[in-house]
Structures are given as structure tokens and as C-alpha cells.
């Protein structure tokens, strides 16, 4: 039964791998700078590393939003989010698992008559707005820096091409790590409180904590998504991105990866706080929306205000409200069905 309950989370992981790996390796694969199998191996490895090593921070934020204490409840919440994600994919909107799952967790809070922690919720919602804006800012700045310096390096075109390939792979790996660290909470975050696993010991030495085992499983689901379905998405996303120049393309991926890293790294948060700098909360953000933000940043650097595509911004803003609302409503309805029709425990008293 435990495995059955985990399937909705694993499905979310699969869908994340299928959709979001394109945001880190799409350009490299679509332009044939890196072979798909190479990209898939690197992305899978680093997503799992990110999930296991750096996934705790953003997942803890979800714990504060709603500590879903029954496996049946976690299954239903993840299933609701998965259905909303499938629906937004069908509509062709920039996919955001995070917005769907946040809505679904709040749906569980309401169903379980628990108070909705408005402070945490508002902190999460601020990061949704901040992440594309920050990505745009990073892309804009990086673009300026690189455009200014590159001509003076007097590098041969062929060497530039080689450098682009190497950078795309390195940034892809960094992006995959950040994606794993930041987004594993979307896949397995709701199962943390009711985690069925135990700490993993080999010859008496603890290798992984119970939560890390859970996240490793989620990472494996993301990797399955990458290997089975992401190639098609990579070709589509990559071609869209590659209307930009190769340098701009890796600037976009770097800006997006930095945003994901910023919202998931404990160490960076400590460092910023110790230097009395404002530190962002550790919250899962949408990589697709960060990419859109970064592309707008590049466009802004190139063409000024004209480059902003308001209809896409409108779609994203609509997603900030509509996706969690639908996710919450659906979770509430499905929790009701699970409890009263299928007689499953969705809330522990």
C-alpha cells in the first residue's frame, strides 16, 4: 500500500523530469551541441545529487505550510497537483508543479481543519513573483557583462563554439543540481511527515537519512522522466531558446539555475545572513517561469521595453492565482472522495 501511495509522487517526479529537464539541457540537445543520452545521464545524476544533498531546505518550507501526516492524504495531495500539472501542460502554459502543490497542500489544511499558515503562504507566493523577476535581472546583467568582454577576448570562432559546448554542459549540470535541490520538495515534500522509509546504514555507517532515501526515490522518478520523455520537450524548448545566440542561450540557463540555487541552498542562505545581506527563503520555484523571466531579461537588454511579451507575462501571473486555486479545490474534493468513498485515512487526528 505504501508503494501505491507513493505512485502519485513518483508520477509528479516523472512529469517534472519530462518537462523541466528541458529548461537546463534543452538548448544543448536541440542544437546537437550535446547528445541526448549524455545530457540525460548528466541531468539525472545531478538532479539526484541535488535532491539528496540540497533538498531539505525547500521541503521544510512545505512542512510548515501543511504537515500532511497520513500517507493517504499525501497521495491525494500529490495526485491533485499532478492532475493540475497535466491540465496546464495541455493548455500550453509554463508548467508550475510548485504552484499546483502549494494549492493542494492548502486544500489539505482546509480539509483537515488546520489553520492555513498565512505567513509561510505569503512568503512562498512572493518567491513566485520574485523568481522570474530575479531571473530576468540575472540574465540582463550577465548578458551585459559577457557582451562587453567577449569581443575583447579575441577568441577564435571555433574555440568559442567549443567553449559554448563545455559551458552548456557545466551549467546544465549545475542547473540539474539546483533543479533537484529546489524541486524535489514538489515531488516528495508532501510525504516527508508520513515518510515510510528508515535511515540507510551500510556496515553500521549512516549513508542516507530517511528523508534522503525518500528524496533519492523522487530523484530516480525525475531521472525516469528525463530518460523516457524529456527529449521531445528538449527539442521544443531548446529551439525556442535557440532563436537566441548560443551565448544568450547559456546565459538564460545560468540565470535560471542561479535562481533555483538561490531558493534552495542552505549554505548560501547562511553566508548571506552572516554578511548581513537579505537572504531569500528556501522555497521551491518554477523553473519554467524562471526561464521565461531570463529570456525576457535578455530581450530587454537587446530591445528594451518592446521585447517584453505581455501575453506570456499575463499567462504567468494568471498561473500564480489559478494554478494554486484549482490545485486547492481539487485536493479538497479528492480528499473528501478518498475519505468518504474509498474509506482511506487522509488525516491523522
Amino acid at each position: 500500500m505504501i508503494w501505491f501511495y507513493l505512485t502519485s509522487g513518483l508520477f509528479l517526479g516523472w512529469s517534472l523530469g519530462a518537462n523541466d529537464a528541458a529548461n537546463v539541457f534543452g538548448t544543448a540537445v536541440a542544437t546537437r551541441m550535446v547528445r541526448f543520452t549524455t545530457a540525460a545521464w548528466i541531468a539525472s545524476l545531478f538532479v539526484m545529487l541535488g535532491a539528496v544533498i540540497g533538498g531539505a531546505g525547500p521541503a521544510a518550507t512545505y512542512g510548515k505550510l501543511g504537515a500532511i501526516n497520513a500517507m493517504g492524504g499525501a497521495f491525494t495531495v500529490a495526485l491533485s497537483a499532478a492532475l493540475v500539472v497535466a491540465w496546464t501542460v495541455r493548455l500550453g502554459l509554463p508548467v508550475s508543479t510548485t504552484q499546483a502543490i502549494v494549492g493542494a497542500i492548502v486544500g489539505w489544511d482546509l480539509f483537515a481543519h488546520r489553520p492555513v499558515p498565512l505567513g509561510t503562504l505569503s512568503k512562498i507566493m512572493v518567491t513566485w513573483v520574485a523568481s522570474p523577476v530575479l531571473a530576468a535581472l540575472f540574465a540582463f546583467t550577465l548578458n551585459h557583462l559577457i557582451r562587453r568582454t567577449l569581443p575583447y577576448l579575441r577568441m577564435h570562432l571555433l574555440m568559442q563554439d567549443l567553449m559554448n559546448r563545455a559551458i552548456l554542459v557545466m551549467i546544465g549540470a549545475f542547473g540539474a543540481y539546483s533543479l533537484g535541490a529546489n524541486n524535489i520538495a514538489n515531488v516528495m515534500g508532501v510525504f516527508v511527515t508520513s515518510n515510510p522509509f528508515r535511515d540507510l546504514y551500510i556496515q553500521g555507517i549512516q549513508i542516507l537519512s530517511a528523508q534522503q532515501v525518500l528524496f533519492l526515490l523522487g530523484g530516480a522518478a525525475i531521472a525516469t522522466g528525463i530518460f523516457t520523455y524529456s527529449q521531445k520537450v528538449m527539442m521544443t524548448v531548446g529551439r525556442e531558446l535557440f532563436r537566441l545566440s548560443p551565448v544568450d542561450a547559456w546565459v538564460v540557463v545560468l540565470a535560471e539555475s542561479l535562481v533555483l540555487f538561490l531558493f534552495s541552498s542552505h549554505n548560501l542562505q547562511h553566508w548571506l545572513l552572516s554578511h548581513r545581506l537579505p537572504a531569500p527563503p528556501l522555497v521551491p520555484v518554477s523553473s519554467s517561469q524562471a526561464v521565461v523571466g531570463a529570456v525576457i531579461g535578455i530581450g530587454f537588454a537587446r530591445g528594451g521595453i518592446r521585447a517584453i511579451r505581455y501575453e506570456i507575462l499575463g499567462q504567468i501571473a494568471l498561473g500564480w492565482i489559478l494554478t494554486p486555486a484549482v490545485g486547492g479545490l481539487l485536493a479538497f474534493l479528492l480528499l473528501f472522495v478518498m475519505q468518504n468513498v474509498f474509506q482511506q485515512m487522509v488525516v491523522l487526528p
Binding site: 575583447y152 579575441r154 577564435h156 570562432l157 571555433l158 563554439d161 567549443l162
Partner: protein, 215 residues
């Protein structure tokens, strides 16, 4: 990774070697024309052979570079531009080689008083080719330098127009040549002008490719 690095370096060297062959052909062409007009058949024949061999080597190198770029999937974004640059540079070299062969085949007899003007025309035309080679090299290595080089190509192309025009006018004003001879000599002036024209066309292409890379 190291093998890709090695292949890229090799490709870079091949492109440089290809462009060097065009430069050498332009230099050999100047010497050949001087020898032709001064009646030094031995040097002229040597240079014709040399240009022929340079052209064959350049063809081989160009094919090798093109195959490698496609086989190794290098420069996915600008490979079309790079291949066009190489092919058009090769066209200029072919024009140089064809022109020198025409001189050997048809033996045009330019009046002695026009030799000076003709050599000036050859110099301007070859100068345009040399600047074109530098512009192609700059496209690969130093985009900021391209603009100045293209200005020079345009200058030398205009010079060939001016010098060619002067020779043709002078040819058709004189009475010591038949119309057939005048038309024959005019064709050779046009050959020399065409070389600079092709160099200028390539310069125009480069400026577009540079904009594409800067955007």
C-alpha cells in the same frame, strides 16, 4: 573532451592554412603579371604552375574543413555562414587561377604605354583580395577589426573600377589597335576587375555575418 579540443585546433589550423593559400596566390599573381608584361616567360610559367598547385591544395583543404564541420557537428548556429565564407573565398582564388590561365592561353598584347596602368590595376585588385583574406580571418578571431578591413576592400575595389575605366578608355581612344584587339584586351581588364568585385561581394557578406554574431 581532449579529442574535441584537438580536432577544433586542427580545424582552426586548416582554415588558417586555406586562407594563407589565397594570400600566396594573390602574391604569386602579382609576380606572374609583372613577369608576363616584362616578357619573362620562365618566371611567368613558374608562377602559373604555382597558382595552379595552390588552388588544388586550397580545394582539398576547403573540402576537409567543410566535412569536419558537418561530421563533428561543429558551429551548429553559424556553420552555414562559415561554409559560405570558405566557398566564396575559394571562388576568388578560382578567379585568380582562371585569369592567369587565360593570360597564358590567349597571350593578350597590351601596348607598352599601358603596362604601368595595368600593373596598378593588378596591385589594387590583389590588395582587395589580401584585405578580404584579413577580413575573413578577423571574422573568426577579431570581430572589432572587420569593419576597417571591409572599408579597405571597398576602397581597393573602387580603385580597380577607376583604373580599369582609365585603361579601357585609353584602349578605345587609340588608332594603333583593331576593334577586335581592343575588345580582346578589354576582356582582360574586366577579368582583373572581377577579382576585386568578388572580394567586395565577400566583404559585404562578412559584414552581414558579423551583425548576425553581434546581435
Amino acid at each position: 573532451m581532449f579529442s574535441i579540443f584537438r580536432k577544433t585546433r586542427q580545424l582552426e589550423q586548416n582554415i588558417d592554412a586555406f586562407l594563407d593559400l589565397i594570400l600566396k596566390s594573390a602574391l604569386a599573381f602579382r609576380v606572374a603579371l609583372k613577369a608576363y608584361l616584362s616578357g619573362d616567360r620562365t618566371t611567368f610559367e613558374e608562377k602559373v604552375q604555382e597558382i595552379d598547385s595552390l588552388e588544388a591544395q586550397a580545394d582539398g583543404l576547403r573540402r576537409e574543413v567543410e566535412n569536419t564541420i558537418y561530421a563533428e557537428m561543429i558551429l551548429p548556429e553559424s556553420r552555414g555562414d562559415v561554409l559560405a565564407l570558405l566557398e566564396n573565398s575559394d571562388d576568388v582564388l578560382n578567379q585568380i587561377a582562371d585569369t592567369i590561365v587565360e593570360f597564358r592561353t590567349e597571350n593578350p598584347a597590351f601596348p607598352l604605354d599601358l603596362h604601368g596602368h595595368l600593373l596598378e590595376l593588378v596591385d589594387a585588385s590583389m590588395e582587395a583580395v589580401e584585405q578580404m583574406v584579413l577580413a575573413v580571418q578577423a571574422y573568426f578571431r577579431d570581430l572589432l577589426a572587420v569593419r576597417n578591413l571591409i572599408t579597405k576592400i571597398i576602397f581597393y575595389e573602387k580603385e580597380t573600377d577607376r583604373l580599369g575605366e582609365r585603361i579601357k578608355r585609353s584602349l578605345f581612344q587609340r588608332d594603333d589597335l583593331t576593334l577586335a584587339e581592343k575588345m580582346h584586351l578589354r576582356t582582360f581588364v574586366q577579368y582583373l576587375q572581377q577579382i576585386a568585385d568578388q572580394a567586395e561581394d565577400l566583404g559585404d557578406r562578412i559584414s552581414i555575418y558579423v551583425i548576425k554574431r553581434m546581435v
